[in-house]
């Protein structure tokens, strides 16, 4: 969430360039996709294209429509209008054909809690007609990568949240999907498990699997090749994390203060201040012109008796970008 993690985003982009060549390109294309629940437009005229070897991230606030899009891509929810193409197959017309090459991990844990780890893996392997040897080889490798090798006999219901998510991923990968759909796969997962999780995802991308995931974690959003920023069922922005950052208007200042709330109070609404965002012990302040505004801020804070430790210009994180972009949408 802090600037230290932003650097993680950069190697990801170079990876994309490395892996764009091998294996036939598999694409997922959504066109004019809409879905309403009664009067509520959960997804409104959404378009995007994802190419093989990409990790495409859907990001947005609660209720933005991420799950609804995922479900339509997985062929478990029918779209009102629009079409989806997965690997040349029209999902809206023939969802069953598409499901052969697709793996979907729902937001809510979707495996059988009264079955063991091994039994769940076996079950999903059978549903995708994976041969016995393939299943054994793949499951051993995946269990090892996920740190679950010692838990094969444990009931899925007795796993921790993070272990459950990793088991979900293993079951999704027990066949060889060309498209992997993950709906908030790491929510409630500890940092170590999340790193293992992403390790597996990077390897998959290397082998040409198209990955679409939704996430609530900004550091994860930074690791995606491209991001779609969703709001109220619409894609507001869709680009690489780096280019999204470039579109952010203004410059970001990080101010460290013992009283960040008072600091926000003092600065909100002041001229030249585009946005104020609390980030734990610090406050991110977006300004139009740092050279002019920094002295003004210092003066204003002194006026309000808010003590500060430091002010410095920082590289924006993706969270800053989203707040900035969605915030300006909101007022526009």
């Amino acid at each position: 969430m802090t600037s230290g993690e932003i650097t993680v985003g950069n190697p990801v982009r170079t990876d994309v360039d490395k892996t764009s060549a091998p294996s036939a390109p598999v694409t997922v294309r959504a066109h004019g996709l809409s879905k309403s629940f009664g009067a509520l437009k959960a997804v409104n005229n959404v378009d995007f294209t994802v190419t093989a070897g990409e990790i495409f991230g859907l990001v947005g606030p609660d209720g933005a429509g991420k799950t609804t899009i995922m479900r339509m891509l997985a062929g478990v929810l029918s779209a009102d209008t629009g079409d989806i193409e997965v690997d040349g197959v029209d999902v809206t017309a023939d969802p069953e054909q598409a499901k052969l090459h697709l793996s979907y991990m729902p937001q809510r844990f979707g495996l059988y809690e009264d079955l063991t780890v091994a039994e769940n893996i076996f079950f999903y392997g059978e549903l995708f007609s994976v041969s016995r040897t393939d299943r054994l080889v793949r499951s051993q490798a995946l269990l090892k990568a996920a740190g679950l090798a010692d838990f094969q006999k444990r009931l899925a219901g007795q796993l921790s949240g993070g272990m459950k998510q990793k088991l979900g991923l293993i079951c999704a990968l027990i066949h060889t999907p060309r498209v992997l759909l993950l709906d908030e796969p790491t929510t409630g997962v500890d940092p170590v498990s999340r790193r293992e999780f992403w390790g597996i995802l990077y390897n998959l991308r290397e082998s040409g699997v198209t990955i679409i995931l939704s996430t609530a974690y900004m550091d994860e959003a930074e690791r995606c090749s491209r991001l779609a920023l969703l709001h109220a069922g619409e894609i507001r922005y869709c680009d690489t994390p780096a280019r999204l950052k470039a579109t952010m208007p203004g410059v970001l200042l990080a101010i460290i203060s013992s009283n960040p709330r008072a600091l926000r109070e003092a600065l909100t609404g002041q001229t030249g201040i585009l946005g104020v965002l609390l980030m734990g012990d610090r406050v991110h302040v977006r300004v139009d012109d740092p050279a002019q505004r920094i002295p003004e801020i210092r003066a204003s804070l002194a006026n309000h008796h808010v003590e500060i430790t430091s002010i410095e210009q920082v590289v924006p994180g993706i969270e800053d970008v989203f707040v900035a972009l969605l915030g300006s949408e909101e007022t526009a």
């Binding site: 478990v76 052969l100 729902p106 059988y112 549903l127 007609s129």
Partner: protein, 378 residues
């Protein structure tokens, strides 16, 4: 259809059933308990029909007649009445289901004519009990008749020309007790299997929705038909075990004579199980909560099978419109089949009519069930 996926589903479902011993115990023990309750309910009712006695003569002979009713074990005297008008009152209050009226000059008429009328009145609200009670009354009368005849022979040295005091002689040969019970218990088996079968499968689909496992399942290439067959297979096995239990209790515990052959019983029972499990499955597909599905299954099976299957209320005594309605009550076919196989030793060909009825039903249910489930969330 892919057999591998079908087996995977059946195996998974079996594991889940196995891991839930409470539900499994209910599935296996419930039918046995119901069998005991309903089976004994049948025989208890029939053992002690409450009887009102209006003995106008109160002689040794009339008391002997009443005693024959009591010692038969089928009646217990609930009230002794002093006036004819009290009979009606007693019946209205439900204090008796049957009454006997012994006339003032009973023993004199009997001695002179060798026959004497005794009036028997039955509360006909419950046709079934009435029929049975009537049979008992005839039995008791026959016993009294035999005593009278032996007495007469001893006194006169000859047989009386006119035998029993009361009409309906032929029924003295007929053992009503066993017959009604034998008649009803196969029906009880049918009703229990109809109830339990639908309960078993009414939860299969709704459970997946409720636990959140359905979304991932329907994102795989598994087909709706595979889901249906895979899920029904283990319950079919449980259903067969339940049927075996119930039929064994009927034969070995309640001693209902089994005159037919096991193959006929087995094939028709499988046919019936397909129908009841299919109905539970259909409900499960339609209703996404487990509680709701199980309640609907109970409602849909309980009333029709109890009232319209002919297991307690004979279908041929129903009004024509209701009789027509019973044609859609699948349990009626199995009730007929079981009675035939048990009591008459009927073969598959003898039973072709109910078997065709049940087969049509089974095909219809399978067809509906196979089309009912869609791999969609909405």
């Amino acid at each position: 259809m892919n057999l591998r996926r079908l087996f995977a589903l059946a195996y998974k479902e079996t594991l889940q059933i196995w891991r839930d011993p409470r539900s499994l115990a209910i599935a296996l023990l419930m039918p046995l308990m119901q069998m005991a309750i309903l089976g004994y309910g049948v025989s208890l009712d029939i053992k002690h029909v409450p009887l009102c006695v209006y003995d106008q003569e109160n002689s040794q002979q009339s008391r002997g007649l009443v005693q024959d009713f009591v010692s038969s074990g089928w009646f217990s005297i609930s009230r002794r009445l002093e006036r004819e008008a009290d009979i009606r009152d007693a019946m209205d209050r439900g204090s008796c289901n049957a009454a006997i009226v012994v006339p003032v000059n009973f023993s004199r008429t009997l001695a002179m004519n060798g026959t004497a009328p005794v009036q028997a009145i039955f509360d006909a609200t419950d046709v079934n009990t009435t029929n049975i009670a009537l049979g008992y009354a005839q039995g008791a009368m026959a016993q009294a008749s035999r005593e009278f005849v032996t007495g007469w022979a001893a006194a006169h040295g000859t047989q009386p020309s006119l035998v029993g005091q009361i009409n309906l002689e032929p029924n003295t040969w007929f053992n009503e007790t066993l017959d009604s019970r034998n008649f009803i218990i196969p029906g009880v088996v049918a009703v229990i299997l109809a109830l339990v079968g639908a309960q078993l499968t009414s939860l299969t689909i709704s459970r997946e929705w409720e636990r959140g496992t359905m979304e991932q399942l329907i994102s795989t290439p598994v087909t709706a038909l595979e889901v249906m067959l895979g899920k029904l297979t283990p319950y079919f096995m449980i259903g067969l075990i339940d049927a075996g239990f119930c039929l064994a209790v009927a034969i070995f515990w309640f001693h209902v004579p089994f005159r037919g052959n096991v193959i006929t019983l087995f094939t028709t029972t499988m046919l019936f199980l397909i129908v009841v499990l299919g109905i539970g499955y259909l409900i499960s597909v339609r209703i996404r909560s487990q509680l709701g599905a199980s309640q609907v299954a109970l409602l849909v099976t309980m009333l029709p099978t109890n009232l319209l299957s002919g297991y307690t209320f004979p279908i041929d005594q129903m009004p024509a419109a209701i009789q027509a309605l019973t044609l859609v009550v699948y349990a009626r076919y199995y009730v007929t089949i079981l009675r035939g196989v048990f009591l008459k030793g009927s073969s598959l060909t003898d039973l072709w009519m109910p078997i065709v009825g049940l087969s049509v039903y089974a095909l219809l249910i399978i067809w509906l069930a196979a089309r009912a489930f869609h791999k969609r969330i909405n």
